[in-house]
Symmetry: C2
Subunit: 148 residues, 2 copies
């Protein structure tokens, strides 16, 4: 498995992923919130392991990191053609600064892919370091583009 290649390949495809369709699953807000929920589910136990709140299990950590790197590239499609009407924590600034938002999203996708690769090696110190690199890219985007 090559999470970096997958993430980059999917990232290149995301412009195609937001294509309109008339189905029951075409709400971009619910789409991106679904992606963030999956990411949160897998991110939280990694954070707990890094903080020592849960015992570090590198196999478990690697599985969560692989899952985050699989979902991260999809998020972009949920922000396309916005802003969208509906309850959302997304700031309008996302669509005022699309290049900066895309850059920050790509940074997260790339760091998450690197985390999945590092986690497969199982070196706890390196895992913790790359987890922090990844978490910083979450925060960078949330600080600018997520309400509170």
């Amino acid at each position: 498995m090559k999470p970096l290649r997958i993430a980059l390949a999917l990232s290149l495809m995301t412009p195609f992923l937001a294509s309109a369709h008339g189905g029951d699953h075409a709400d971009p807000i619910r789409y991106r919130q679904s992606g963030f929920y999956l990411i949160g589910w897998h991110f939280e136990p990694m954070a707990a392991m890094v903080k020592g709140e849960m015992p570090m299990d590198t196999k478990d950590f690697a599985a969560h990191a692989a899952a985050v790197s699989a979902v991260a590239p999809l998020l972009t499609a949920g922000f396309a053609n916005g802003p969208h009407k509906g309850k959302s924590d997304a700031k309008a600034e996302i669509w005022k600064n699309p290049a900066d938002f895309a850059k920050k999203m790509e940074a997260f996708q790339n760091e998450a892919a690197q985390l999945a690769e590092v986690a497969q090696v199982g070196d706890t110190a390196k895992i913790k370091g790359q987890f922090m690199n990844t978490a910083k890219t979450c925060k960078a985007c949330h600080d600018d583009y997520r309400k509170d």
Copy 2:
């Protein structure tokens, strides 16, 4: 990108993915429904292309197929340690027949991974055939294990 390898690797990891944690994203029902929403978002335009309701765009189709194959292996974790309390279309039979449910889920994950691989080649006839193979695995599981 090797969707089949990714799907199989993630599938092998799913037993680890449901590990308990005290975060804000620990609801297995919302987790699996989020995964199904992402899959639906990407599945519907593929269905529309196969049915001729949308023009077939093999690049677009391949992107959607890759996204489905990235998310499909994660679903399993949302059904672990159930049944779970909360609003859900999941039948209790899932946890009465775990081996059969796991077999049907794995069939979907494998066909979705194959669809992602076939879609990259761009042969419309083969894409349509593998899409139908994949759709059958959705239906097989929904017929037995999803409330209607």
